[in-house]
Subunit: 337 residues, 2 copies
Amino acid sequence: MKTIAIIGAGPAGMEASGSLARLGYHVVLIEKEATVGGHLKNLFQLFPDRRPGKEILTHLVQTIKHPGIQIKVNSEVSEVQKLDNSFALKINEETMNADAVLVTTGFDLYDATEKEEYGYGIYPNVITSADLEQMFHNGKVVTEEGKTPKRVAFIHCVGSRDEKAGNNYCSKVCCVTAVKQAIEIKELLPETEVFCYYMDIRMFGPYYEELYREAQEKWGVMFIRGKLSEASQNMDGSILMKAEDTLAGKPLRMNTDLMVLMAGMVPSASSKKVAQQFKMEEGQNRFFKSADNHYRYNESQQMGVFIAGACVAPMNITDTIANARAAAVKIDEYLKN
Amino acid sequence: MKTIAIIGAGPAGMEASGSLARLGYHVVLIEKEATVGGHLKNLFQLFPDRRPGKEILTHLVQTIKHPGIQIKVNSEVSEVQKLDNSFALKINEETMNADAVLVTTGFDLYDATEKEEYGYGIYPNVITSADLEQMFHNGKVVTEEGKTPKRVAFIHCVGSRDEKAGNNYCSKVCCVTAVKQAIEIKELLPETEVFCYYMDIRMFGPYYEELYREAQEKWGVMFIRGKLSEASQNMDGSILMKAEDTLAGKPLRMNTDLMVLMAGMVPSASSKKVAQQFKMEEGQNRFFKSADNHYRYNESQQMGVFIAGACVAPMNITDTIANARAAAVKIDEYLKN
């Protein structure tokens, strides 16, 4: 029986493990953290259908309960040796042999402290969308001072489409996440004013536009085509935003009790490490480079090393799951030849 | 050996046929037209890498050259009978038995004549992006009068994000197609002025933003956040556009020699027919409804009937190919149980 090592047990790695095990392979799923699930563990509800993240996680946990799958948590690949038609991998002082490797090392959130002018890590009422998601988990959205925010402002494209940040690309999921979170705030706190500061509203997927309409028509979320230039803290802890309204072409100042930064996706630290170990190529955007952009999307430039999910490009959960299954098909074909 | 009927031989149907045949199934690929390839046949170059559409088509044609695949062109399913664990399908007066069915009936282009105020089908210098793609195939972009256009204007979101047209959704590929075509025009005709009238520029995929920058910085394509209200024809055959500049908040008039409508995607006529035959559910957006939006994306609400590609939602070629492979994995699992 042939063995596949899968590096990273987020949604891509978990789904691919299930597909490959059901195709008859022995899978070793390697996760550096103590638990599987990756970023999905932190998502309270998914867009656009407000599905609890937990339901999808439960599905994925079920899918990897298979006799063909060996799960190694708290584990990292420390050494790689390329053999003739396989790889010798050193994991926690043990060595295993893999006939193929699937890299599913996902993404890291952009470190919002790098945008110093936005004040994340300096002013406590500047938070990220991940912090807000955690508040939704806890069922309570409050300012640092423990008060109900009278106003919340979302800042789209933090560390995305940003030459200064070194990330020209769009992170694809932040617009729709912001709109979803804006609605969630209005549901919890109907009296709170909610603003979204955007460059372009990228609601491209099925039922994203409907969510955008709901935010405007049902909940009165206000969308401002504008760019934040800097934020500072008022005496009472609230945030003074200086922005440019790019529709009106005018500078704009606004106070907000909570400012939410939609931090984008960057290639993960694990991806960088794995890229070196397997001598894989990065694209211009620093995500992994596919052997072909159209029909060899899940193959790296290295024979026998495959890639899937958000380590290839920013993608949502639905696309990640499809992508993982697609990778499984190509690995099966590779191992049969 | 189990048999899978695949309805529609565009990219999704072709790729899934190859994957399923290599998984050991007998595939009958049914295409109503005389040749395979679907809309891909009409694409001169793909975004974002300007890959000739023909190269991808060649790959797909290779993939279906497999002894396990029987291709039936000029063929349509005329009758469906649900049996215990299979379907009896009548095709061209013959009846076949299928253990599973994969529907890959793709999309139709939005009929731009429905937007009467834009003048498509009335004024010859109002064309669609599909017409322009055909001009690129022919290597020559000219007006109806046979002249080199001094100015070309692209109108984004024709029949997409348009409540009046009955399509609230974004068609996902038009923005990046317009930017690609704008660059192609500048390459052929460097002296021609090119304008894009957009609502939001949705360049969300890998290397889309780079294309957008190239259009602006290298080629001087002008992007106007604006909405066309109506078009009329001048004496010389050129087009007078009346629009609203939604950045400046002002009405705007502009003459153009060629006006290109970015017609969106709508569910295909074939999808509607197949939906009735198999009693499949449509979503609110009239594309097929998945059994689950996140992890049963390729399953319809009918047991044994699967869906993939642009009949599920607007998607590009890369996503369509991944989606087809993902469907193959799920069909394999279904037939093994």
